[in-house]
Structure formats: structure tokens, C-alpha cells
Amino acid sequence: MESEMAAAEESRVVVDSEVAARLVKGLREAFIAGKTRSYKWRVSQLKSILKMVEDREQGIADALRSDLAKPELESVVYEVAILKNACTTAIKKLKHWMTPEKVKTSMTSFPSSAEIVPEPLGVVLVISPWNYPLLLSLEPVVGAIAAGNAVVLKPSEIAPATSSLLAKLFAEYMDNSLIKVVEGAVAETSALLEQKWDKICYTGNGRVGRIVMAAAAKHLTPVLLELGGKSPAVVDSGINLQVATRRIIAGKWACNNGQTCVAADYVITTKDYAPKLLDSLKHELEKFYGKNPLESKDLSRIVNSNHFARLTKLLDEDKVSGKIVHGGERDKSNLKIAPTILLDVPRDSMIMNEEIFGPLLPIVTVEKVEDSVDIINSGTKPLAAYLFTNNKKLKEHFVMAVSAGGMVVNDTVIHLAVDTLPFGGVQESGMGSYHGKFSFDAFSHKKAVLYRGFAGDVPVRYPPYTKGKLRLMKALISGSILGAIFALFGWSKD
């Protein structure tokens, strides 16, 4: 694999500032020519994406297996299927999305009509991560195309097989005068970030998010930042424990072995309930992944040795290593870590202060389940928060008092597949949102348009200014017709 990567590295065109500037210039000229604005072009490109992933599903699954040992079902479910849905929804709804929205106008500007016209922003940059290298590359691209933009996609170099596959497939399936893939790592990304874009969509971590936003500031470019955070799952007692357990597992280990931005990062439950939850987790994990999970074909591996080292460091911290109550096995040569549960790790440990992004699940215990709200609020705002409960009051309190990008009660992760809900973070977990119509909006400028006729001109607007004009103006702005009439009379008496 090493030599393959080296070969790929060599064959790639080096993208420095100059190449990047030329690339953007070319795309901008093509954008200005106006091709992307038509409904026809947008739909044809969306259909090409659909065809591309349908034709090459096997190749995609192979690339994902090579990058992450991702089980085929996970590839099909979380990457290909969600993407296909995004495409078909966009194709189905595009005409509707593109239609200007009529707006009511006020008496002040009567007679007039107004509308909001969505227009493409221009040339946009999408920088995608390695954990869902297909979905998180293409779903923003779908939004950018639907909104009529020219796009450059920079897939993550940490998932090299998918990155090079995307470069190949885009060359083959997409309109290359307007949609391009640029492969590369830090140097190439930096060269791209020096250019002026009309929007940058970045999915990844807060550290790089800051760099992206600072680079964007130089050109006054708006950004969409999809970051992560420590997403908690709170488990109350008196619930269907088996269902809750399975849904936590489904959103943790069955999602790329925990390497997912919306995966449950840690669990909060009461001291009394923790042993029951732990037993249930152990039991269901064994049912799902067998007695030797390192051998299971149904668990992704850790993406690379850096991340493997990072995760084992979290586990090997002195005050943490003794807290492992399940799992903990690792296989360095195959980059595998078994589903691992830790009980009552100290709050000041590393594992409780950074996003885990891997198969480790700490359980934090509290006296009362209500205390979980304070624990969550003492940290930065997560991308997602989950709650399992049958207690209506707790549910209401949690929804109001906890701030997170998104929230699911009695399940995990599935809100991501619902395109009528905006997907995005808040504070440390990011800014801006996408999915469904929200993706279209994220890559559109909403132009306010007001139509006036020449009739209905009120002299009150114009100088020379008088007291009477002031009275009439007040009446007009407050929408008082009677006041306006009085003022008009008063004024005529001046």
C-alpha cells in the first residue's frame, strides 16, 4: 500500500499557489459565462453524480475498504444511500427551490411587489474529511451544484483510495470546465486557501476550521464549518434498555467504529443505573461483533497509525487505564481497536477533554440524571446530543437547556438522514448548516428584489423638509391610514 501511495503521489500534478490561481481563474470565467445558472445544467450534473455512484458502487465500496476497512453495509448505508437520497431529493425539488419567493411589502413602499431570488454565489471550495470520504465530499457538492455554482472539491489525503477514485470519477462523469477535484495534503490545501472563493465549506476539526476561516477573512468569503465535539448520550432509567443500548452501539461502533462526528462520544447515566447499562452494552456488543471483535468484519479499522497512536494514548493515560471495564484489546499491525468501555474516568483526563473519534466509550455517572445537563453545559457545545428517557419533563428540560447542533431523543445519529432537518453545529461544533433545501440555501445568495412603478410618488419623501412631512411620515411608517389622512390635511393647511 505504501508503494501505491508513493506512485499516486508522483503522478499527481503539484498544486501550488500559481496553479491554484490559474484553476480558480478558469473556473470563474466559466462561471461568468453563465452555464451553471440553468436548471438543465444543474440537473444534468446531479444526475451524473447519481449515475456515477450507481455505476461504481463496487469501486466505491472497495476504496472505502482500502481506506478504512469499512464494512460494505456501512458504505452502502451511510455513504452511498444517503448521498443518492440527497441527489434524488435535489433533482426532485430543484425547480421549486429555484423559484423566487414572493414577499409581502409594506404600506411605506406601496404600490410595489417584492421577491427573494436565489442566485449562485460563484466558485466554491469544498474541503472534505477522511471518515466518510464519499458522503462528506459529495453531499456538499450536491448542494453547491444545485445552487448553480462552480466547484472545487479537495478530498482528504488521509483516505487516499477514495480521494484518487473521486478524482478519476469526476474527470469521467462531471462537467470538468466547472467541477473539479484537486487532490493533496497541507501544501495543496494552503495554496487553495490563498485564493478568493465565494464560499468555503470545510468538514473537519476546530483547529483547521480556524485556519480556514482566517484565510477566508482575507477575501471576505463566507464559510460553512462542519466540526465535531464531544456529543453526549444521556441514559435515564425506566426505559427499554435493550433498544437504547443497541441504538447507542449503532451510532457509535456501527458508524465507522466511532470515527464519526455525530457518534456518541460519552454516556452519562446515574450511579444506580450504570451497572445495568454496562451489562446490556457488553451483551449486545458480543451479539453484534462476537467474542473476538478484533476479528469482526463488521467493524472499521482506525484510519491510520497516527490516529491509532492518539487513541491508545488516551487509553494508556495513568488515571484512565484502570477504568477500562470492557474491551481494550488492540492490534497495532492491523490498526484495530476493540469496542472499549470505561467507567467513571476522571473529568480532567485527556479522554474527557478532547473529541474521542474512535471506539472508546466512557461512561460518566451522576447522582441524578438531571445533573447531566450541567456536565454537558460545562463543556463546549457539541454537534449532537442524545437522550434516552420516557420522562416527559426531563425530555422538555433537556431540549430547552442543552445547546447542540442537533438533538435526538431515544435514538442516535439518524437525524442526519432526515433532509428536512438542518445539519450543522454551533460554536465549537461549527457554523452554518446543510442537507436537503438547507444545502441549496448554504450555497445561494438570497437576493432581495423590489419592483416599483412610477405612480404613487409621495412628496413627503423629498426635501425641503417641513413639520407636516414629519407628521405624515410618522403616520405612514406606523401604518396608520387615519393618521396619514390627518397629517395630509394638516400639511395642506401649512
Partner: protein, 480 residues
């Protein structure tokens, strides 16, 4: 620095206590703001006169009136805006409920500007309050009377533990920007906009940037003389009537077919005389230049010999009173500063073209403006302008009125900024839209869980296609 830190800590504590979240608090604050404006109208007029020489009618039309209207509108709609919006869910997840719940962002910072020192600080404030945030307002130091008035009066009317005014210049702004905010709302120039966004990036703070740009007027041939008169009145109202051209959505220059130039200039001159009298520089109905520095900048624009040669009307300046006469220029060089920088003052260049359709390329070869204005009766041309140029807003056959439409978002694109406000958009700008999904424990869809096998793969494929019949058949073992 200590004062900023202390204020911020107090505001954060107030926000954490949850007080700003209730409908009651938001409405009380909006009502208090309305009371303030009603009670202190005269003082506001006075401050605006002191800072900018604005006539009360202009002050009411562009500031007091707009804020009153915005606050009233928010007051009657805020409860509706706060209600969660339902998101439709696919049957696959049944029974489940999805909603989008707007929640306040936290403690936000608003930078006002000096040209509309009340509207541009209080309009965003209305949005921030409506959305339930704690707020720091930093009014512009270049409108000192207005800034002092806000600092003095706001605490008397509004909840001082949640809404603060911090006065000061660039030094104070820099201090403020070092702190972590949950949103920064900035109105001003692109240069400072970049600084604000760079500072915000350190804390991943979202920003709304309301900048400016050179807003063009496309003046098509208007065969009916009364239409032409209306157009000219509106252009003058939108140029000199709004803070003497010191407005981000004001008219920057006019694009016109060469053959109409003489008519237009005559009509402009005649109407200016009607509005501002024989001695317009001393008219009470026109604002003055804000300060010496801006006056100098404008004078420099005119000093280029090729530019001064293009003056066809006006051009007199009164340095002592900081007054500049309404000045019209015909075809100043396109590479002169007056045509490359935002003018932001009472100078109006007219650029002539052979064909008015060329105006589209003219506009597109420059940074995207905050507004494009077009006077035309040609429907095809209207559609062409809409589709082929890009700007924050487009207004046909009038100037500035888009600013007072609550239903329209106000904001720029490209060089003119990003993010939007006014009406419901102000509420959205200061809210996080939290996606919330409610599920029950029953029913369970077994194929969601590992160990994976071919059956589960097939089933999930069907599920994603929402092929319910297929799913049922698969479950019963009838479908292969």
C-alpha cells in the same frame, strides 16, 4: 480591558441564568426600546443634528421611524418566530417527530456605524433581543453625540444586566475583538470587516458583515417625461436625501445612454434647486459630512484634475461647516479613485454608455455592490439585470425603499458582505436553528444492527428507496 472583561462576565452569567430566553423578557425589552424612542425623540433628533446635521424629517425617515417599525414588527411576531418549526419525517422513522427549534446564540457583539448611528445599532439590537441573546453594543465613535446618548439612555430603559453599551474607538474595538463572542454583527467598511472576521476566526465565532460598495443606478430611456421626473426625484432622494450620500445603500453613480445626458443633467439641476433652494450648501434639508477626515477624503477625490474637469454641477465646499454641495460629474476617468472606491458622500458621477445594455458588463467588471437600482419599463431588461448581475438587492424604479421592507432580507454578497437581517431575518441571524428529533423505543428495525449480512444490506437498500412494500416482502422472506 478590565471593564470589558467584567461586563462580559456579567452578561454571560445573565445569559446562563436563562432570563433572556423567556418571551416575557424579550417583549419587555422591545417595549422598553419603543418607549425610549418615543420619550427621547427630541434628544435623538438633537444628537443626529449634532453628529451629522440631519434634519428631523430625514432623521425620522431613516432612523427613528425605521427602528420604531422594526421594534413594533418584532414585538408582534416574536412569539411566532420562537415556535419550533416542524420538519416532515419519512414514514420509515414512524413514529417520530422532527422539529427545528430556534435558540439564542449567547452573548453577542454589535458594531454600529456613524452614518445611521441609531438605526444601524438598534435594528440589529432588536434582532438580538428578539432571539433572546445578551448584547454588547459598540456605537461608532465618529458619531459621538449619538454614541453618548445610547450609552447614557439605554441602561435606563433596558435590562442593564443583559444589554450593555461600550463606547470607544479602535482601541476599544480591538479589546472587544480579543474576547470570545457567540456572534459578531458588524456594519462598516470591507477593510475593518476583514479584521473583524480574522479576529472572530480565533474563537470560531460566526459573523454578519454589512459592508458597502458602489451601488449603481441604471437609468434606461423613459419616454414619458413624468416618469423621468419621478426617477430623478427618487435618485436625488436616494443620493443626497440619505445622509448626504453617506449611506451604504445610497446611489454611488448613474449609468445612462450618452444621448440622454443633457436632459438628465438639466432635470437633476432643476430638481436639486427645487429641493434644496438657490444655496444648497446651506440648505437645512441636507446632512453634513461627518468629520474632517471624511471631508478631506472627499475633497481628495475631486482634486484629481481630470475629475475636477468633469464636474458639471456644484463642487463648492465649506471646510468650516463640513458641507459639500450636491455635485454632479460627467464621465470622470474610470480609473480615478472616485470610480474605484466607494464614494460615500454627495458626489454623483454619471457614466454614459452607447447602449444601456452595456451596463450589465460594467457592473459585473466591478466588485458586487450592496444594491443595484434600475429605472426601466422594459420587462426583458429587468429579467436580464436580475439574472446576470449579482448584488445584495435589486430595486426597480426606486431607491432605498427595499431597506424598509420587513419581508425582504437586507445584506450583501461578495465585497458587500454576508449574512442578512431585518424582520424575521434579524431573528434568524441571532438564532441557532437546533434540529430536534423525537423517537420512541418501538418499533425496532432489526436490520439496522450488525452483524451485517446480505439480507440486511438488501433491506436497507429498500428502506433508503422508501420501498415499503419491498421491505415488507423482504421481511416475510418473499422477496429476493
Amino acid at each position: 480591558m478590565a471593564e470589558v472583561e467584567k461586563s462580559l462576565a456579567e452578561l454571560r452569567q445573565t445569559f446562563r441564568s436563562g432570563r433572556t430566553r423567556s418571551v416575557a423578557w424579550r417583549k419587555t425589552q422591545l417595549r422598553a426600546l419603543l418607549d425610549l424612542i418615543r420619550d427621547k425623540e427630541d434628544l435623538i433628533f438633537e444628537a443626529l443634528h449634532q453628529d451629522l446635521g440631519k434634519h428631523p424629517v430625514e432623521a425620522y425617515r431613516d432612523e427613528v421611524g425605521v427602528v420604531t417599525k422594526s421594534a413594533t414588527y418584532s414585538l408582534s411576531n416574536v412569539e411566532k418566530w420562537m415556535a419550533p418549526k416542524k420538519g416532515d419525517l419519512p414514514l420509515l422513522f414512524f413514529p417520530a417527530k422532527g422539529e427545528v427549534l430556534p435558540e439564542p446564540l449567547g452573548v453577542v457583539l454589535i458594531f454600529g456605524s456613524w452614518n445611521f448611528p441609531f438605526d444601524v445599532t438598534l435594528d440589529p439590537l432588536i434582532g438580538a433581543i428578539s432571539a433572546g441573546n445578551a448584547v454588547v453594543l459598540k456605537p461608532s465613535e465618529h458619531a459621538p453625540a449619538s454614541s453618548a446618548f445610547l450609552a447614557r439612555t439605554l441602561p435606563i430603559y433596558l435590562d442593564d444586566s443583559a444589554i450593555r453599551v461600550i463606547e470607544g474607538g479602535a482601541g476599544v474595538s480591538e479589546q472587544l475583538l480579543q474576547h470570545k463572542w457567540d456572534k459578531i454583527f458588524f456594519t462598516g467598511s470591507p477593510r475593518v470587516g476583514r479584521l473583524v472576521m480574522t479576529a472572530a476566526a480565533k474563537h470560531l465565532t460566526p459573523v454578519t458583515l454589512e459592508l458597502g460598495g458602489k451601488c449603481p443606478v441604471i437609468l434606461d430611456s423613459l419616454s414619458n417625461p413624468s416618469d423621468a421626473k419621478v426617477a430623478v426625484k427618487r435618485i436625488i432622494g436616494g443620493k443626497w436625501g440619505a445622509c448626504s450620500g453617506q449611506a451604504c445603500v445610497g446611489v454611488d453613480y448613474i449609468l445612462l445612454e450618452d444621448k440622454f445626458k443633457t436632459n438628465l443633467i438639466e432635470l437633476l439641476k432643476k430638481t436639486i434647486k427645487k429641493f434644496y433652494g438657490e444655496d444648497p450648501i446651506n440648505s437645512k434639508s441636507i446632512a453634513r459630512i461627518v468629520n474632517k477626515q471624511q471631508f478631506e477624503r472627499l475633497r481628495n477625490l475631486l482634486q484629481d484634475p481630470l475629475v475636477s474637469a468633469s464636474i458639471v454641477h456644484g463642487g463648492s465646499l465649506d471646510e468650516e461647516k463640513l458641507l459639500i454641495e450636491p455635485t454632479i460629474l460627467l464621465n470622470p476617468p474610470l480609473d480615478a479613485d472616485i470610480m474605484t472606491e466607494e464614494i460615500f458622500g454627495p458626489l454623483l458621477p454619471i457614466i454614459t454608455l452607447d447602449n444601456i445594455k452595456e451596463s450589465i458588463d460594467f457592473i459585473n467588471s466591478r466588485p458586487k455592490p450592496l444594491a443595484v437600482y434600475a429605472f426601466t419599463k422594459d420587462g426583458t431588461f429587468k429579467r436580464q439585470i436580475l439574472a446576470e448581475t449579482s448584488s445584495g438587492s435589486v430595486t426597480f424604479n426606486d431607491i432605498l425603499v427595499q431597506f424598509v421592507c420587513d419581508g425582504l432580507p437586507f445584506g450583501g454578497v461578495g465585497q458587500s458582505g454576508f449574512g442578512r437581517y431585518h424582520g424575521k431575518y434579524s431573528f434568524d441571524t441571532f438564532s441557532h436553528e437546533k434540529a430536534v428529533m423525537h423517537r420512541s423505543f418501538f418499533p425496532e428495525i432489526e436490520p439496522r444492527y450488525p452483524p451485517w449480512n446480505d439480507f440486511k444490506l438488501k433491506f436497507i437498500r429498500l428502506a433508503y428507496n422508501f420501498d415499503y412494500l419491498g421491505m415488507l416482502l423482504a421481511f416475510m422472506g418473499l422477496k429476493r
